[in-house]
Symmetry: D2
Subunit: 339 residues, 4 copies
């Protein structure tokens, strides 16, 4: 932590801050010049998070130095985490694809999509049974019925299931049917839910919040890890920007940056990340080229009839092309698409 003092601050104020920091066990070091006085303090910064240093007389700025997350950082564990979920590997050079409809609309439709997705090489079946919808007046998902279909379709085609949890009260229900619990962007800072996820024995995929910084994203993962669950996948799914031609802006530079900060696998979601069908193929290619450990793609056999987000799904035939292309791109940069 660096404390910058206002120009002309008297030495009593500086001494007061030094004493305060030393009480908290910090090692303090002061630099002075005609221009400024700064204090370097090394110690447990989170202990001070609740102490309003900025309110102390003479203090102009307080700059945290240490990363606020620990367990998920590369400093804690340098080699990349490879998750092995019932034989499907993600991370450490292993690329996996999650595909399926936005929401589960019916058994037949789901089986048809799962069959094609699985044939093309997707190892994980995605689909929502409980949908977070901005309007109270629209379709909210099939609930447990949808979960059952997901499990059956995945079992039929040798896939894993990933589906979203929205409410801590649904935890047992979701865990009964799924292999990976997905936390949506709008719940990335639902701290009670995150805490709960730390207590389960199941992999969690955490989606980045719409306006979350990468630091906040990693802090959300830290909540889960601090609770005891270190099987975490991070998913970049688009951030909010001024651009209105796309629903969100898929931030692909988040992939190399996250990989420099954390050992956790990082995947991208070009469907939600752009909200446009014509962007899914190019942005899936770009995600893998940027080093993603996987992608999540919405596939629908008849997007025209989709009950939610059909505008951001691709057809099975196009998904075949997508899989072939990312296979080559992955190899080009020294990684393996497990299909």
């Amino acid at each position: 932590m660096i404390v910058v003092f206002k120009k002309g601050t008297n030495s009593d104020n500086i001494e007061y801050v030094r004493k305060k920091l030393e009480e908290y066990g910090f090692k303090v070091n002061i630099s002075m010049s005609g221009e400024a006085t700064i204090m370097g303090a090394l110690g447990n910064e989170s202990a001070l998070r609740d102490t309003p240093l900025l309110s102390l007389p003479g203090v102009e700025k307080v700059i945290p130095i240490l990363k606020p997350y620990k367990l998920v950082s590369k400093d804690f564990k340098n080699e990349e985490t490879v998750l092995d979920i019932k034989g499907v590997k993600i991370g450490g050079g292993n690329v996996a694809v999650m595909a399926g409809p936005c929401s589960v609309e019916g058994r037949d439709m789901l089986f048809a999509i799962a069959e094609r997705a699985s044939k093309a090489g997707a190892k994980i079946l995605r689909g929502g049974a409980f949908k977070p919808r901005t309007s109270p007046y629209v379709f909210q998902g099939l609930g447990e019925e949808g979960l059952k279909y997901l499990r059956e379709a995945a079992d039929e085609y040798g896939m894993l299931v990933i589906t979203e949890l929205m409410d801590p009260r649904d935890m047992d229900l979701i865990c009964k049917y799924t292999d990976i619990v997905q936390i949506g962007a709008r719940n990335m800072q639902n701290f009670r839910l995150l805490r709960e996820l730390g207590t389960i024995r199941m992999p969690v995929m955490l989606k980045r919040g719409l306006s979350a910084t990468l630091k906040e994203f990693l802090m959300a993962a830290e909540y889960v890890a601090a609770g005891g669950n270190d099987e975490i996948i991070l998913c970049e799914r688009g951030i909010r920007t001024f651009e209105t031609e796309t629903r969100n802006t898929l931030d692909l530079s988040a992939i190399p940056v996250l990989k420099s900060l954390t050992h956790l696998p990082v995947v991208a979601d070009p469907s939600h990340g752009t909200g446009r069908r014509d962007c899914i193929l190019p942005m899936s290619q770009a995600s893998i080229a940027a080093g993603a450990d996987g992608i999540m793609v919405e596939v629908h056999n008849c997007p025209e009839e989709a009950m939610s987000d059909g505008d951001q799904s691709i057809l099975p035939d196009d998904f075949d092309i997508l899989m072939d292309r990312i296979d080559i791109i992955a190899k080009t940069i020294g990684r393996t698409l497990n299909r």
Copy 2:
């Protein structure tokens, strides 16, 4: 809803869309020129929210026309809602002030603050017992003990209580002690929680999400109203922008704009909205001058010792000045501060 067709779209495609919209009960009207073909369709737009019109051949753009919210809109109810919560009025020209510490840290400290806040004219005591914290390693609030202190202090000084609910499982506990349930910015789109709030008989104050548009903010309120609870206060508490000198950017133009769209009372929170003590007084004045129906301010008798967010609290003496000034400003623009 307006459907814009791509240049050169053939008439079969246009007819197909027209038929589709008419099946949904829409009244359709087509305009054509050399430049473009557009289709105006009036009807129940939310029925179509799950139909990916954009996927239909020839369609270039789909522009919703109707507001997606109903019950909270001025079209539904033109006169301003005046909440009367145990005698404290908010809305319709009545300005009310909520003051207190960020989190309840102890009984004595809370009583001392409540006494000063109440003397200065604040009618509602704020304070967190369950705190949403970005780090799992810091103080998370006193829990039920904090709620008890809040109730006792408020009763002692003739104030109402407002405190935050974070988890649907705490609903009964919170409602036992509070007069207004606060929903924090990070839960503005926690749709399950919003749905639950529709079923209680207690006023709700909804804080705007960090990157929420006003439309999304009103849709969150619509969730509560659609459930049957129309006692809702909207709170502008700062949005995320590029600026790093302030924690957030308090968006005061949201006040007149919201008041043109909804009949609900609108308040502002300059403490969270700026995160800087030296901004609280000017931005409280500005909030009232912009037409807010109230403000929420963090007051602390010794911010230096505050266990959370002391940097954004003001001292009781400064709060006295603040109350006197906003009293005059409210009068200047034809409104009444109830103190």
Copy 3:
């Protein structure tokens, strides 16, 4: 400047950076703990702006400490600058109002507006003769003819003129007719233009860029000051956010924050800042309540016929009310509206 080293960096790398910094005349101070090694370096940070310290082995982060601007900062000059432009004072408790049409459309219209604006107490007449327009196909301003009308109308009603300069080649022309040179938001980082402004003997009003941070805003002012011209007014005119109900988001917290960082006067522009007529009155009140040294408001006697931005002008009758209200609000917070 703080240099944070990667965990486990060897001491040779640290020594190399130390030597490098000392060569540049920095006073260096190292703090080490098990968690981290940080180096505090005090000296001329701008000398290092072109040295990619981040590229040195072992360096994780480089955090500048000193403010990059000097002449415009409060550290350089603590008392507020009061500009006295031909008798009209701005700054240091003096509030001044700039009013007029968005662009000068004709002589009669301009005289009619100037008369009303001046009667209500505005001391400075605004109006564009060269307009920055996002489309090449629309009205671009009357040019020199517009400048002449401005000068005549201002002289007739005892006002000053403020008008925008877009091109360094127009400098002499603009200066011949105006009393204050306005630099628009889109030119805030037109560094060549800024440099030119440093060489003239006329006050400059600099508008904040659409996505500029306050630090960048002050750096733009520093360009002018470094050239030798210290008569600078800063104007907050709205920043870009996600909100689409308003054209921009007027960032009023910029006012108290700028006033804590600089001695220069700060004004606000609620017309461009919101782009909505119904927001001009409340946001003008709020600007003054937040401590602005003035406002710039578009006034038009028949906004329906305005050739640009009529949607954000108010009528003369409403401007009268506005002036009376901000007069009281200014007094309430200890400032004086010069009218």
Copy 4:
């Protein structure tokens, strides 16, 4: 253009707007239902840009329908533009790479970099002679001397030159030495400069502004095209977001979206777009995978000594790897890297 009327607007107001629009030559079509009245109007929308329709009584919203740009749109010209600049092709499946130092620091250094860049397959030499710098106190470029070195180095290694123009007064000077005129992000809406570019006979590369929407970006290109110069390359170079780990956020979805809207070639700049050396390789790969017609990369043989932006340059050896990888990726998606 769609005009939405307020609920309950009387028919006189609606008729007034209809008449007004018909006067401007619009074809008007009215749809009414219990919920709303909307008016579709097809005609020359830019003619109305200066008419404040929003000010007319009863009008709630005015929604433009037509794209404000013409000459640069796909509607105007459907096949992709292929620029052939002295034999180097960009666009229509031809991928070209621009490489070189951020600014020209000296003759020897430039020749050394040009040699390596050219050997690896870059066809265009980049380098700044006039630098837009946020601080007036740092290195501003070598000026004409730098331009000479650029020309000589490019000629020596059979490359083209691209360099930035900042001031209309430097036009002749720049054009004397360069093959492509670059307009920087901060000048994207310097309308006077854009207008000037329309009059020259030389290709222009326009960088996207830091917070520009794609529509604004295309409007800037329209300024150039409207002036008569249709040799325009668009360059995505990162937009401003909340993220602080990267300098900007390279918006790769802009590539497929722009390509659906315009016939112009689109390139990406991963160096400025991220500001981090470790992001250049992955984001260059991703740019090509997303469909870019080229990339602009900063290469430096000793980034440690670079006088500006060395943090975002890569070494020649890494540039070799980059070129080999994007060559394969380009082929994978059916495009050709000209090297």
